[in-house]
Symmetry: C2
């Protein structure tokens, strides 16, 4: 009665292990600033609940496996705004972007097949690829290079006969990196020349700052047959609990096979699709204020980070995350100390240690991910707390070095 090797190779969520420490910190009366949350603090647009509340059906029944026609058409029309023309048959509605990713990887990977992913990456990619029997092959990026990964040599050196796809998050989580059009062309060329799928996770689309346009791999015509886009209502419409996502591809063999998996689980939630169709039909200026607010927050976080000696980061052009290299050896150890032993005026801070975003053993130990989903003033205070804590942590370390030296000398006597 053994469990599968593949499930045993998947790690439990890294966030869980810190839960008891944040709970203890709160119980001890500390205020904790949470910089680890991937849930926007923006209200879900009221059209979502209105569409559900106003529905008069007696039976909450199954919908079509590919998604309700209303939802598919709302997605179709939304993509037209960005010059992407998908037919109904090219759109599969899923239980969140997560299910879309899982289904796509299942359609592509057999045991031992390889998927190239820039690291650091969204940790759940590891679970999806392993659950399909596949292997993640990381393209390592560095804080010093702004975590950019569109490097032909680096990508091509990793391609083997088992490589099936490039899996990218654009805009990026956890780095906030946004590909330039030139970088997208390069990645497209690598995929074309090496006959790979491009799985483009674009759930943070529209979280792009500095007045830059948002680009999608769906806009590049000569890779249309090898591109599959993942989208979701979670981030853009602050509806994470709706669990409605979508997979879009002009590769009909792929969408027909995605449909088999969609049929096997019958349908995505009926009411949440009603609400989500209304979200996709919001006017295109819906996001303008939200984008401006997140841009202010990003700027505030970067201004505060710039005040800390020894940190390495680049101002991220998109999403609502920033990955930062701290002047510590082990960010996880530093975090545990922050939650258990540090406070400033009764306040401390929680972030995500970045080690689990890396597939390569030993990388990322000094790095953390900050999600800027708090107000600007809270964010400034939270980063200030990191700065104050770093100073205290380093004082403590040097004291420890001194006391260790004293003990050593005493022992030597």
């Amino acid at each position: 009665m053994r469990l599968s090797k593949k499930i045993l190779s998947i790690k439990a969520s890294p966030i869980r292990k810190f839960f008891k420490y944040t709970e203890s910190a709160k119980k001890a009366g500390k205020k904790v600033y949470f910089l680890n949350i991937g849930q926007p603090d923006v209200s879900t647009p009221p059209v979502f609940m209105e569409a559900i509340r106003n529905d008069g059906r007696d039976i909450v029944e199954y919908g079509p496996s590919a998604g309700s026609i209303e939802m598919i058409d709302a997605v179709k029309d939304y993509y037209k705004r960005y010059d992407m023309d998908f037919a109904r048959e090219e759109i599969i509605v899923t239980c969140g972007g997560s299910e879309a990713l899982r289904f796509i990887i299942d359609c592509i990977c057999d045991e031992g097949d390889e998927v190239i992913v820039p690291e650091p990456f969204y940790t759940n990619y590891g679970a999806f690829v392993r659950a399909s029997g596949g292997v993640i092959v990381p393209v390592t990026t560095r804080a010093e290079d702004g975590y950019r990964y569109a490097d032909r040599d680096a990508l091509e050196s990793l391609i083997t006969p088992r490589t099936k796809a490039l899996l990218l998050t654009n805009p990026g989580n956890p780095t906030g990196v946004v590909l330039t059009e030139g970088e997208m062309e390069l990645i497209g060329a690598v995929a074309r020349e090496n006959d790979l799928f491009i799985i483009s996770d674009e759930v943070y689309r529209e979280f792009v700052y500095d007045g830059k346009p948002m680009s999608s791999f769906g806009q590049i015509k000569d890779i249309a047959d090898r591109t599959v886009i993942v989208d979701s209502v979670s981030k853009r419409f602050s509806a994470c609990g709706a669990r409605i996502g979508v997979a879009l591809s002009k590769n009909r063999e792929l969408t027909e096979n995605l449909l088999k998996l969609a049929q096997s689980r019958l349908c995505a939630p009926t009411l949440d699709q009603l609400g989500s169709a209304a979200l996709y039909r919001l006017p295109s200026d819906y996001f303008d204020d939200i984008r401006a607010e997140f841009e202010r927050r990003r700027n505030a976080v970067c201004e505060e980070l710039a005040k800390i000696d020894g940190v390495v980061f680049s101002k991220p052009p998109g999403a609502f995350y920033i990955t930062v290299k701290l002047p510590v050896n082990d960010a996880e150890e530093f975090l545990l100390w922050l939650l258990q032993n540090f406070d400033d005026g009764g306040e401390t801070v929680m972030f995500t240690p970045a080690e689990d975003f890396y597939a390569t053993e030993g990388l990322g130990r000094s790095e953390i991910r900050i999600a800027y989903v708090l107000s600007e003033s809270e964010l400034r205070r939270a980063v200030e707390l990191i700065r104050l804590a770093l100073a205290a942590w380093n004082r403590r370390l040097s004291e420890r070095v001194v006391s260790a030296a004293v003990i050593e000398r005493a022992n030597a006597v």
Copy 2:
């Protein structure tokens, strides 16, 4: 750019191929009685929508990956009614019973691992097992034996070193078979002696007729560590579109690993969990009238079937399905003829050919599944239509035999 072998080995939903024919029949002005639907026609209890409508949150946010505490506790309390005591940690809320099945099989099967399933079986089991890289090993049952499968020799003859689990639907889909307590003890003993998991899909629990008690593998103490139960709000509460299910097991290693997959997809839908918690808290007599209505329907279908010469069936003790062997060589061919060429007073009938419920090639060609989710009078008429159509079909065949003989003779001249 090839898709995975495993996805290509999964068949598209068999129901899809008939869709265009039912649409044409409707367009031609025929009334079609649908006996192929797994969606109860009972109203979803109003508490479901009330719980959602009354919710006042601004942000439809992520819930805990294992399920909301309200939902978990509602499930926990429901199971206590049946003397099953599950701890919160032993309950994982999923996106429908389908996701629970998928996660369980992923936790158990690596490539080439075997799962024993009585055939005919719910076709999507095939997709779940293949998607995990596993193999379904069928225990063949027969209409003549009432599709019963609790046979020690039959089960044990299929066990190999790769066998990981027995996967059962109880009450059964598509057969309506309900295991007796003795049969459950026997299956439990086989699992224990051969160190197998028991995956017990009990989504039709409470659809048990003739005053018989409902039994669950969760009630058998000495197999508690190897049993995992799948449940759902879809059938019992007529809430198929909510996509809320649950996996329950006292095997903590299993639930901890199920939780990894639950974490990878973040959470089940937040609002649907609110509504579903209210469903699980309905009083225990909620189902009495519904059960009585389905029992009347089952009796009506069986009475009408008994009027047809040459059919083989047993009165099914549970669920809302009956599998019937018809006096035809190919039920699919018969169905296409029913939809395209037959009517009686402008009416015809649709059912599910059973061949796709079998893993063994060539079995089930004469069999069909009837779902009795129409009113009693509609069901009587629908089965009458099958009877009339069979008479016309057999007349047609004998005429064809005659005309073939005439042609053959003419050719011989």
